[in-house]
C-alpha cells in the first residue's frame, strides 16, 4: 500500500547562538492514506519540527519527506494545521475565520458554496449558531473546534495537529476526541497528531510513534488494533491498559530514565 506521507531517515540540525543543535537524527514515519498517526515523545524532542517538515515550512538537512509521492520542497496548499493556540483572528467572525484558507488557496467553489461548506463543518463540530460570533465570545474548547474547521475547510490531503487539545481541561478534551472521530467519519482525512497524552494517542490514532529524546529518531511504533467505532469505554479495557503500559515504558526509555526491556 502506498503511503501518503513518507518520512525517510530525516536528519536536521538547527544553528543556534550557542552552536549547532541536532534535533532530528534518523526519523522514520509513514502514514497511509486515511491513516491517523500519533507522535509522542519527551518534551523538546523535536515533535513540532516534524510538523514543520510535513507542512513544507522546513526543509531537512538530510533525508526526504514525501507527500503523495512528491518530494516536499516548500509550502503546498494541501495541508491544514491546528495548534495548541487556536490562533483565531479576533477581528473576524467565526465563519470568516473558518473561510480564511479559501482566501489563499484556489478553490472551484462559489462564495455561497464556500459559506455552506463552512457552516456544515461548524455544525459537524457542534458550533451551529455561532457563525457570527467573535472568537472572544467563545470558550477555549469552542475555539479549538473552530480552529479544526478552519484546518479542514480546503479539504487538505494532510491534517497536522500540533497538540491541539493540550491546553484544554480533561472533560473538554474527551469531548473533542469524540468530535474528532465524528468529523473523520464525515470528512475523511489523513492526520499526524503531536501529543503528550498517551490516552489521547491510542484513542485517536491507528498507529503511535514514539520518538527518542533529542536528537529525535523513531524509537518505537505501536499499532492500535481496529476495534470499529471507538468510545471512551475502550480506554478502560485491559487491552488499552496494556498499550498504555508499553507506551509509558517507551517514554521512560526515551527520557533516559530506564534501559529498554523486551516487550511483546
Amino acid at each position: 500500500m502506498e503511503n501518503l506521507i513518507e518520512i525517510a531517515d530525516v536528519r536536521h540540525t538547527f544553528q543556534t547562538a550557542s552552536g549547532p543543535l541536532p534535533v532530528l537524527d534518523g526519523l522514520e514515519v509513514s502514514v497511509p492514506e486515511g491513516g491517523f498517526v500519533a507522535v509522542v515523545g519527551p518534551s523538546g524532542c523535536g515533535k513540532s519540527t516534524l510538523t514543520r517538515l510535513i507542512a513544507g515550512l522546513l526543509i531537512p538537512d538530510e533525508g526526504s519527506v514525501f507527500v503523495h509521492g512528491a518530494r516536499v520542497t516548500g509550502p503546498r496548499a494541501n495541508v491544514g494545521m491546528a495548534f495548541q493556540n487556536p490562533v483565531l483572528l479576533e477581528w473576524r467572525t467565526i465563519l470568516d475565520n473558518v473561510l480564511l484558507p479559501l482566501e489563499i488557496v484556489a478553490s472551484p467553489l462559489s462564495k455561497t458554496e464556500k459559506q455552506d461548506r463552512a457552516r456544515k463543518l461548524l455544525a459537524l463540530v457542534g458550533l451551529e449558531g455561532f457563525e457570527n460570533k467573535r472568537p472572544s465570545e467563545l470558550s477555549g474548547g469552542m475555539k479549538q473546534r473552530a480552529s479544526l474547521c478552519r484546518s479542514l475547510i480546503h479539504q487538505p490531503e494532510v491534517l497536522i495537529l500540533d497538540e491541539p487539545f493540550g491546553a484544554l481541561d480533561a472533560f473538554t478534551r474527551e469531548d473533542l476526541w469524540q468530535t474528532m472521530h465524528k468529523v473523520k467519519a464525515e470528512e475523511p482525512f489523513t492526520a499526524v497528531l503531536i501529543t503528550h497524552d498517551l490516552r489521547e494517542s491510542i484513542f485517536l490514532a491507528d498507529q503511535v510513534v514514539v520518538l527518542s529524546g533529542r536528537p529525535a529518531r523513531t524509537q518505537f511504533t505501536l499499532d492500535v488494533p481496529d476495534t470499529g467505532i471507538r468510545t471512551l469505554d475502550h480506554l478502560y479495557t485491559p487491552e488499552a491498559a496494556e498499550m498504555l503500559n508499553i507506551l509509558r515504558h517507551q517514554i521512560e526509555v526515551a527520557q533516559g530514565r530506564v534501559p529498554a526491556k523486551d516487550v511483546a
Binding site: 507542512a55 509550502p75 496548499a77 495541508v79 495548534f83 490562533v87 483572528l89 477581528w91 480564511l100
Partner: protein, 252 residues
C-alpha cells in the same frame, strides 16, 4: 447612554470653569497673574475672526504633520518589525532622535527654512509625533505569534498576504493607542514652531502677540482654544479606532 456620554463630560467642564472662576475671585488675582473664564469671553468676542483663521492654520498643519507621521512611522515600524537587523540598527538612532528636546530643534529648523512657515511648522509636528507610531507598529509586528504566520505560510501565502490579512489588522489596536499619544504631541510641535517662528501664523502666533501686547486674557483664551482643538482631534482618533479596531474592545 449616549446622552450620558455627552452630558457627564460637559458637566465636568462647567464645574471646572466655575472652580477656576471662584479661585481667581477668592484669591483676588489680577489679570496678569491669572485671567478668569469671565475675562476670556470678551477676548473671544473681540478676536473671534482671528481665532477662526488662526485656529484653522494650527489645525490643518497639525493634521498634515500627523498624517506624515502616520505614513512614515508605519513604514519605519514595518521595516523594524519584519527585520531583526533593521530593528537592531535603527533603534538607538530612533531613541536618540526622540531624546533630543524638540524645543531645541525648533529654532534650528526655523532658521534652516526661514520664510517657509507652513513647511517648518508641519516638519516639527511630524518630527515630534512619529516616534510612538513607529515603535508601536514595530512591536506589534515583531510580537506576532509564529503560529499566525505558519497557518497562512503552510498554504503557500505570500508575505504581503500575511501582512494584509493578519499582521496589519492585528497591529491596529497598538497603532491607535500610539496615535492617541501622537495627536497631542503633534499639537505641541505645531505650537512650538508658531510661537518661536517670527511673523508666525496660527494660535501659537496669536498667543505670542498676546504676550507682546500684555493682553493676558487673550493668552489664556488661546490656551483654551488649543485645549478645545486638542479634544476635537483626540475624539476623531477615538471614532476612527472604534470603526477600525472596535473588535479589540472587550467591555461591550
Amino acid at each position: 447612554m449616549t446622552a450620558q456620554k455627552i452630558l457627564v463630560p460637559t458637566a465636568a467642564i462647567i464645574v471646572f470653569l466655575i472652580l477656576w472662576e471662584l479661585l481667581v475671585w477668592a484669591m483676588g488675582w489680577p489679570n496678569f497673574r491669572m485671567a478668569s473664564p469671565s475675562d476670556l469671553l470678551p477676548a473671544y468676542e473681540r478676536y473671534w475672526e482671528l481665532f477662526l483663521t488662526m485656529g484653522w492654520q494650527t489645525l490643518w498643519r497639525t493634521v498634515v504633520g500627523l498624517l506624515l507621521a502616520v505614513i512614515f512611522g508605519t513604514a519605519l515600524g514595518m521595516v523594524m518589525g519584519f527585520s531583526r537587523v533593521m530593528r537592531d540598527a535603527l533603534y538607538p538612532l530612533l531613541v536618540g532622535f526622540n531624546a533630543v528636546p524638540k524645543a531645541t530643534v525648533v529654532p534650528i529648523v526655523a532658521l534652516m527654512f526661514v520664510g517657509w512657515h507652513d513647511f517648518n511648522t508641519i516638519l516639527i509636528a511630524f518630527m515630534i509625533s512619529f516616534f510612538p507610531i513607529a515603535v508601536s507598529v514595530s512591536i506589534g509586528l515583531s510580537t506576532l505569534e509564529p503560529e499566525y504566520r505558519d497557518i497562512l505560510r503552510a498554504l503557500g501565502a505570500s508575505q504581503s498576504q500575511i501582512f494584509w490579512k493578519i499582521a496589519l489588522p492585528k497591529t491596529l489596536p497598538e497603532f491607535f493607542g500610539a496615535l492617541k499619544v501622537s495627536v497631542t504631541l503633534a499639537f505641541i510641535g505645531t505650537n512650538l514652531m508658531e510661537i518661536v517662528s517670527p511673523h508666525g501664523r496660527g494660535l501659537g502666533a496669536l498667543f505670542d502677540s498676546g504676550k507682546t501686547n500684555s493682553d493676558y486674557p487673550l493668552m489664556f483664551a488661546v490656551l483654551i482654544a488649543l485645549a478645545f482643538l486638542g479634544i476635537v482631534l483626540y475624539y476623531i482618533v477615538v471614532a476612527l479606532e472604534k470603526t477600525f479596531a472596535g473588535w479589540a474592545d472587550r467591555s461591550a
